[in-house]
């Protein structure tokens, strides 16, 4: 049996700040195996982002438990969660992934700088990952000089350069056209299959779902269908 990178038990999230409480997640049980690529699907408002944020230690559930790489997130302080995100999780967001004043290479280096990695090793690894992901020709450019697709691919490079146990991507293709979405998805497939990075994406883009190994459908904060029950671990 393969190792579980993420385990969720009865994860519930209620937004009570408005007059009518919003039940974004209603007791989700869910696990992600090492090397898997899970795509959280479902209509807008179904709770995809909420679940992704909770798995990533950005948000806390009102009830239930989440563990990542064997660590129970409920027992961690804000500072410990921040450190866990820095060391174990790579993030790719819909927009605003990169620091505008830094070049692509510097953006990739920056996360290693936060990890306390020395300057020469940072530079070497940043150039290495950009090279492997076919982004070496845009390393000197700042985000403003990159297309949306290029920015998202640099964000992927930034997310994986630290060898995270998990890559989380929320609507990574929302601002991209079909051709660049395909490039991004090929890149994600490459790092998933050839570099063994576990991925969870949240999207309502059918193209993304097509590339993922395991589609998980959410509706009204609950799992409606899970690809793993229908077709368990196709490649592993």
């Amino acid at each position: 049996m393969s190792e579980e990178v993420v385990q969720c038990h009865g994860v519930t999230r209620v937004y009570a700040d408005d007059a009518v409480p919003v039940h974004a997640l209603r007791g989700v049980d869910f696990a992600v195996h090492k090397g898997d690529w899970v795509s959280l699907a479902g209509p807008s408002g179904s709770g995809k982002s909420t679940l992704l944020h909770i798995i990533g230690g950005l948000d806390r559930p009102n009830d239930g438990s989440v563990s990542v790489d064997g660590e129970d997130l409920g027992g961690l302080s804000e500072a410990q969660l921040s450190d866990l995100r820095l060391r174990k999780i790579g993030f790719v967001f819909q927009a605003y992934n990169l620091i505008p004043v830094l070049t692509a290479v510097e953006n990739v280096e920056f996360i290693m700088q936060l990890q306390g990695i020395g300057a020469s090793e940072r530079r070497e690894r940043a150039l290495g990952i950009l090279d492997r992901l076919g982004l070496d020709d845009i390393g000197d450019r700042r985000p403003g000089e990159l297309s949306g697709g290029q920015q998202q691919r640099v964000a992927v490079a930034r997310a994986v350069v630290t060898d995270p146990v998990l890559l989380l991507a929320d609507e990574p293709s929302a601002n991209l056209d079909t051709a660049t979405t395909k490039e991004l998805l090929e890149l994600l497939r490459n790092i998933n299959e050839n570099h063994g990075v576990t991925i969870v994406t949240a999207t309502h883009d059918p193209m993304v779902m097509g590339y993922a190994k395991r589609p998980v459908n959410l509706r009204d904060g609950a799992i409606e269908s899970d690809g793993s029950t229908a077709d368990a671990s196709p490649d592993a």
Binding site: S49, H53, G56, L58, D59, A79, S82, D83, L84, R85, L86, R87, I89, F91, F93, Q94, A95, Y96, N97, I99, P100, V101, L102, E106, F110, I111, L114, R158, D170, E171, A174
Partner: protein, 417 residues
């Protein structure tokens, strides 16, 4: 990275750096003008007249009587000469006398201040003033006369001059000297009313023993006179306790500000004005820079949210903003100091007519100072205001800190969608 972040909204950076630079330019220029204006007057008054501090009998300042003297003079001067910051120690006897000159034509008498000095130790600027005639005072038996007084008396170099006054114990004090020189200080009061004789002649005539009315002392810098006076007072206390019980408590040490209260008052007024203006400017700059930083942090909610999401601790984000502030203030400090240096040297090259400053003009005339004012770069004040500005900007950069900690990565990311 912090440096590059400065140029994302250049207008805001220039606002901050410009505010800092302007405050520095303004304060340094103002203080340099003051330093130039008062530096000359203070130098003249202290170096050529009163000294930086004076040792006097405790009552002499308020009641300058012949018997209010500093006793144990030789012990006092010896102790002061050993003080590391002392440049000159000049004991002086001060009294009043009727001065009459015996010239060939007629005999006239005028009241004058008699200054008994020791030319061997007196400040060169006091004992060797500009000489329209003769030479400076050198030894006993000689007299040195202010130019206006000399003219009034019809006295010339070589004439015999007789001084008649009242001695310490009430008897007649008489000194007969030969006029060896006539001085012209340009200071009307001095030239009209002062006659200098040797301290030995003075002491003999007025009945002083080992004593003098004032011991004028030059230290390193007029600006340090208060501290210097305290230090001198300690030196004197130490000898008094050993030497003679009689003279214990019989001397006090006054900084020039107490001897020249009008000048000191003028300096205090200018300092207060300068301090108030600098304070107001600092408050304005603080407001401008605080709002710039609040806006900066507000505008970068998405960026800071993303940075927190990928695991950058809020303290590290805070430090980054502090660094941006530091770069901005250093930029402003560099510009401000460069501009101040340029403006002060440009104005110094031409000078400003003293008539532009109403209250100063009178004093300058009285002291016979040049009628153009040359600003002197106020280094201390420049460093002070630069330090204050750096602190202001760091403070401003810290004002939005709570927002950095409070900011929720999830909310920031959602707002971007």
């Amino acid at each position: 990275m912090a440096w590059r972040n400065l140029w994302r909204v250049p207008r805001r950076t220039w606002l901050t750096a410009g505010g800092v630079a302007f405050a520095i330019l303004f304060v340094v220029f103002l203080r340099s003008m003051h330093a130039g204006a008062f530096g000359a007057a203070i130098n003249l008054v202290t170096e050529r007249m009163s000294g930086h501090v004076q040792v006097q009998h405790p009552e002499y300042l308020d009641d300058p009587r012949m018997r209010h003297t500093v006793e144990g003079l030789s012990a006092v001067t010896e102790a002061l000469a050993g003080h590391p910051d002392v440049r000159a120690v000049a004991p002086r006897g001060i009294g009043f006398a009727l001065v009459s000159a015996e010239s060939e034509s007629e005999e006239r008498s005028f009241g004058a201040q008699v200054l008994g000095i020791d030319p061997a130790v007196e400040f060169a600027t006091v004992s060797q003033r500009a000489l329209p005639g003769g030479r400076a005072l050198e030894r006993a038996g000689e007299g040195f006369l202010g130019s206006v007084l000399a003219r009034n008396l019809g006295a010339e170099v070589g004439d015999s001059v007789l001084l008649l006054g009242t001695g310490r114990e009430g008897g007649v004090a008489a000194i007969a000297v030969t006029l060896v020189g006539i001085f012209e200080s340009g200071v009307a009061d001095l030239d009209r009313s002062v006659m200098m004789v040797h301290l030995d002649d003075f002491a003999g005539a007025f009945g002083l023993e080992d004593e003098a009315h004032v011991v004028a002392v030059l230290g390193q810098d007029a600006a340090d006179a208060q501290a210097f006076a305290a230090s001198i007072a300690r030196s004197i206390e130490s000898i008094e306790s050993v030497e003679s019980a009689a003279s214990a408590g019989a001397a006090r040490v006054l900084p020039w500000q107490e001897i020249q209260p009008q000048l000191a008052q003028l300096v205090v007024v200018k300092d207060t004005i300068g301090f108030t203006l600098a304070g107001m400017l600092t408050v304005i700059v603080t407001f401008v820079v605080v709002s710039a930083f609040v806006m900066t942090v507000f505008d970068r909610t998405a960026e800071f949210g993303m940075l927190k999401a990928i695991g950058m601790p809020p303290a590290a984000i805070f430090r980054m903003v502090q660094f941006e502030g530091l770069w901005m203030s250093l930029l402003g400090v560099a510009l401000g100091l460069a501009a101040a240096l340029a403006v002060v040297s440009a104005v110094a090259a031409v000078g400003v007519p003293v008539s532009e400053f109403g209250d100063l003009a009178g004093m300058y005339k009285r002291l016979n100072l040049p009628d153009t004012l040359i600003p002197a770069f106020a280094t201390r004040d420049a460093l002070l205001i630069a330090g204050v500005m750096i602190a202001v900007v760091q403070f401003a950069a810290a004002v939005p800190a709570p927002r950095i900690w409070r900011l929720s990565a999830v909310d920031a990311l959602r707002d971007e969608e």
